[in-house]
């Protein structure tokens, strides 16, 4: 599903974020990416949804060679990848419904299908009753659930979640994790960067640890491994 071969990433200002990363993530896996701040986690995530391009190396996601993608084609790749962020990234002037529907409008889904599917997904994340609320009228946990609904509405092959629980209290975080686990259970690959030790140690999955731009540990059913 995701394959990286000898990936190097140096930013224009000279910082080297990744040095020689090799990794294979299979279909239907659930992977935690852990490591200290500034270790290269975010760059790793950004490479997957093509916000950044590797300086060197090959990366393929869902069969697309992402590094060599033409600008014009980027949107089409992103449609197969659901992205979830720490700061939700919802469109502030659109309601919860419109935010989720937007992802379907982009792929020119018929309006009636959009309506049905959007309500379906909002129900799945437990926000059907808040469909018409603006993001500002929702709590952090609710906004993140809207973002998850938007990420899954087109049934993508991969979901990339960059610290999805970073801004949420523990209880809300568990709600989000249950949701992600259910989505994973339905067949979506999930790559999640996190600092949340409790979650990683409780909900055991594959753990990839990145330090100073390199993968230092890759273990199935691993633990967080860092003291906070």
């Amino acid at each position: 599903m995701i394959e990286m071969q000898d990936i190097w990433k140096t930013y224009p200002d000279g910082t080297t974020a990744l040095q020689g990363v090799n990794v294979v993530i299979d279909r239907n896996e659930f992977v935690y990416i852990v490591g200290p701040s500034g270790a290269g986690k975010s760059t790793f995530m950004k490479l997957i949804y093509r916000e950044e391009v590797p300086t060197k190396g090959q990366i393929s996601v869902n069969g697309f060679n992402i590094g060599k993608l033409k600008h014009r084609k980027i949107p089409y790749v992103r449609r197969n990848i659901g992205v979830i962020f720490q700061d939700y990234k919802l469109l502030p002037k659109l309601s919860a419904f419109e935010n989720v529907a937007f992802a379907m409008e982009v792929i020119e889904t018929p309006r009636r299908t959009i309506r049905r599917r959007t309500m379906e997904v909002l129900e799945l994340v437990g926000l059907k009753h808040k469909a018409n609320s603006l993001p500002a009228q929702l709590s952090g946990g609710e906004q993140q659930r809207v973002a998850i609904a938007r990420a899954i509405v087109n049934s993508p092959a991969v979901i990339v979640a960059d610290e999805p629980t970073g801004n949420l209290d523990p209880e809300t975080s568990w709600g989000i994790m249950n949701l992600l686990e259910e989505i994973n259970f339905r067949g979506t690959t999930i790559v999640m960067a996190t600092h949340n030790k409790e979650i990683v140690n409780t909900l055991r999955k594959r753990v990839i640890a990145i330090e100073r731009g390199s993968i230092v540990r890759d273990q199935l059913r691993g633990d967080y491994g860092y003291e906070i």
Binding site: F102, A103, V106, I107, E108
Partner: protein
């Protein structure tokens, strides 16, 4: 692009106008105000131009003949003048007609003073009034008419008069006024463009984050651009329509209340109908284009995420 997507973009464009309430208000008013000022100067320039035209068209050449010129001779001269391509019309003014006009011009007081100068005592010569197609060619025509004497042993033409200095001064003034008018209008148009594009840019900078989110969700550039395009057109049309409506109403009121007074000086305003398309129409088209241009240019900058 599917038809339903086109409909979606138009719907979204209209919705955005409402969603961005204050920003829309700011852009609409900046368009309305700057085009209003531009419109006022366009109206001014148009009327000055019209005034200049009216003054120009009052310019004519008077050609005076020898007192003893016979009818056949003057007819021949009239034909020669008519043959000059720049000449629009030639009117023969007989000595009797000349005296009559002279008498009228003196008013009631001098009426009797001219008694006894009729018929064979008339001291005035026959003359022609010559009008040119292009008032600027008057002095050229006058020279051509003077040249007719060269082939005429009797030298029948005594004088060709066209108020040389007055005309040249008039032309230099009207030309200057026209050029300055065009200059001011162009300058204001550039200023309006700058002001409008800045305002629209501001509204879009505020939405830079939205654009980057749309891209992350997988929207293509054109998918993002279209609603902005529609929104820009609506804002541009709205703002320019408001200013054009106020201008046209104000102008028609001005013409209605003052044309009687101004008419005394033999001057006419450009009519409301003339102005409606020239100024009102131009402003609406210009405003709409500026709205589209401003939003398209600004969005393009943030599309490279």
């Amino acid at each position: 692009m599917k038809f339903s997507t086109v409909a979606r973009h138009i719907r979204e464009g209209f919705k955005n106008v409402g969603r961005n309430g204050w920003m829309t208000f700011a852009s609409v008013s900046s368009i309305a105000v700057s085009l209003f000022i531009l419109g006022i100067f366009m109206l001014l320039a148009l009327n000055v131009n019209k005034l200049a035209d009216q003054l120009d068209s009052q310019v004519q050449i008077n050609v005076y003949l020898q007192l003893d010129t016979v009818k056949a001779k003057s007819d021949a001269i009239e034909r020669s003048i008519k043959r000059i391509p720049e000449v629009k019309s030639v009117t023969f003014v007989s000595k009797d007609e000349g005296l009559k006009r002279f008498r009228e011009s003196m008013g009631a007081d001098g009426k009797d003073a001219l008694d006894g100068y009729e018929k064979e005592n008339n001291p005035l010569p026959d003359s022609f009034e010559v009008e040119a197609f292009d008032p600027q060619k008057v002095s050229f025509i006058a020279k051509q008419i003077e040249a007719l004497n060269l082939t005429d042993p009797a030298k029948s033409i005594t004088k060709v008069k066209y108020g040389k200095e007055t005309i040249e001064k008039l032309f230099s003034i009207t030309n200057a006024v026209r050029n300055i008018g065009i200059f001011i209008v162009l300058g204001l148009a550039v200023m309006a463009m700058f002001l409008i594009s800045t305002t629209i840019k501001m509204t879009i900078i505020a939405r830079r984050r939205e654009i980057s989110i749309m891209k992350l969700v997988g929207a293509t550039n054109s998918f993002i651009r279209w609603p902005f395009f529609i929104e820009g057109a609506i804002i541009g049309f709205g703002g320019s329509f408001i200013s054009s409506a106020i201008l046209m109403y104000g102008y028609s009121q001005l013409v209605r209340t003052t044309s009687a007074d101004v008419g005394l000086y033999m001057i006419e305003f450009a009519t409301v109908n003339e102005v409606r398309f020239l100024v009102g129409g131009t402003i609406v088209v210009l405003g709409t284009l500026l709205g589209i241009w401003g939003s398209t240019i600004s969005v393009r900058r943030y599309l490279k995420v």
